[in-house]
């Protein structure tokens, strides 16, 4: 089936089978390796991408549903130099194995777009759908606060 959509800021047209998941299309066909399969059931958040401004699990979405959408993965943020959140994760050591990190960063991105100055509670709530088995989450929350600080210094612009 033919789909037309925007991926990381670029218009794209593709032919996809009706049963292919968005996750498999992005990762296997477009080679966007930041999109990872953890549980495959929407529990872990490792496959989180941003579609029309909202963070969603790409394992519970079909590739055909991307038609007409504005889709972002971590690769897109890096390409356009929007690395404040990523830098904050690295600086605060909010990463160990790194498998969950792209999903976390996309959820943080969706949060800060809507709410540039979240409370600790709001940060935790926004990240409830992302699991990390290494860090214990404290450093992740610290990294988000660091990103908030950096965004303020830069006047909210990435």
């Amino acid at each position: 089936m033919r789909i037309n959509f925007r991926i990381n800021g670029k218009e794209m047209s593709a032919d996809v089978p009706p049963y292919k998941r968005a996750l498999d299309f992005l990762r296997d066909d477009l080679r966007l390796m930041s999109v990872k399969e953890g549980c495959g059931e929407g529990e872990c958040g490792a496959c989180t991408i941003i579609v029309d401004g909202k963070n969603i699990p790409s394992c519970l979405m079909l590739a055909v549903e991307l038609d007409g959408k504005d889709v972002w993965t971590l690769e897109g943020l890096v390409e356009k130099g929007d690395t404040i959140i990523q830098d904050a994760f690295i600086r605060k050591g909010a990463i160990q194995c790194g498998f969950c990190t792209p999903g976390f960063i996309m959820s943080v991105k969706a949060l800060l777009n809507e709410n540039p100055d979240p409370t600790d509670e709001e940060i935790k709530e926004a990240l409830e759908g992302n699991l990390c088995r290494c860090t214990g989450y404290l450093k992740i929350v610290e990294a988000v606060k660091e990103a908030v600080k950096m965004l303020k210094i830069q006047g909210g612009k990435p």
Binding site: M1, P17, P18, Y19, R21, G40, E41, G42, E43, G45, T48, K54, N55, I56, P57, C59, L60, M61, L62, V64, E65, S107, A110, E125, A126, E128, G129, N130
Partner: protein, 278 residues
């Protein structure tokens, strides 16, 4: 797993696709999990998002939630926050932010899980479902026949949910589970209560995950009307519902533990209503 996909542009087309054996989905947060776990093996998936997306109406009497309206849409609605605070509270506990961005209340009803948190709120409010293509209305408790079972014709599907506006009620909701997000409840309770001074004028109690469908008893509620708003009364409510509950033992908890929760959760609700638990 291979299947076809269609995205009809009107209600008649959705109805035809369903009659032809299609499986309807909006957010896919239940359907894709079931396909992956081989609980479901559809040959045709019908994407309902070609019609009525994101609509919420409030006319002073009813809140109407249309198919494809997501949990996120409800949380963004001032009307829901202001006039349906218990629903707002329950929706906040559904899934995770990612799931709430995709999942829909109508889909939750379509799934008819006894653990469906949104389903529980519909039982409490005595909501109706608008059924397409005829737009007939049916009470939620008459629509849901058992786990995953709905009383629908083969060309019928849920078009909207109509929730009556209740004034003067206080609400309570609690879900017992093992993690904040993505908790499929071990047991959950929702209570709506209207009291004057120390007397209960009306009380509605519904439990999730302790019977094949949401558990609510008019009989017990009837008996509690006119009773004192006291620890005694809430202990009675707990005991009555404990008798009525038919929990199972599963991967999340034992039937016995669930029975104990049914007895004790109303008591906890009482202390919350009294403001003794922050």
């Amino acid at each position: 797993m291979r299947f076809d996909y269609v995205k009809p542009r009107d209600i008649v087309e959705i109805s035809k696709a369903k009659k032809a054996g299609g499986t309807l989905f909006a957010g896919g947060t239940d359907v894709f999990v079931k396909i992956r776990n081989k609980v479901m093996n559809p040959h045709l998936l019908v994407d309902t998002k070609g019609v009525e997306t994101g609509k919420i109406d409030f006319d002073g009497k009813f809140l109407t939630i249309y198919m494809n309206t997501t949990y996120r849409d409800l949380l963004k609605s001032e009307v829901v926050k202001k006039h349906f605070p218990l629903i707002f509270k329950i929706v906040k506990t559904v899934g995770s932010p990612q799931i709430r961005n995709r999942g829909t209340p109508v889909g939750n009803v379509g799934n008819a899980s006894p653990a469906g948190d949104f389903l529980l709120s519909l039982y409490l409010y005595e909501a109706s479902c608008v059924i397409a293509p005829t737009m007939r209305e049916v009470k939620i408790s008459e629509l849901v026949k058992g786990p995953g079972k709905l009383d629908l014709g083969e060309d019928e599907f849920i078009y909207a949910l109509k929730i009556p506006y209740l004034q003067g009620y206080e609400g309570y909701f609690e879900k017992v589970g093992s993690r904040n997000a993505m908790v499929i409840s071990i047991a959950s309770v929702g209570i709506l209560i209207k009291r004057r001074e120390n007397v209960i004028e009306d009380v509605r109690v519904a439990f999730g995950s302790v019977a094949p469908t949401i558990l609510r008893s008019r009989e017990v509620e009837e008996r509690m009307r006119g009773e004192k708003f006291s620890q005694d009364t809430f202990e009675k409510i707990g005991k009555e519902y404990e008798k009525l509950s038919k929990p199972i033992t599963d991967i999340r908890a034992s039937a016995n533990y669930r029975k104990k929760l049914v007895r004790n959760l109303p008591l906890k609700a009482y202390f919350n209503f009294k403001g003794e638990i922050p």
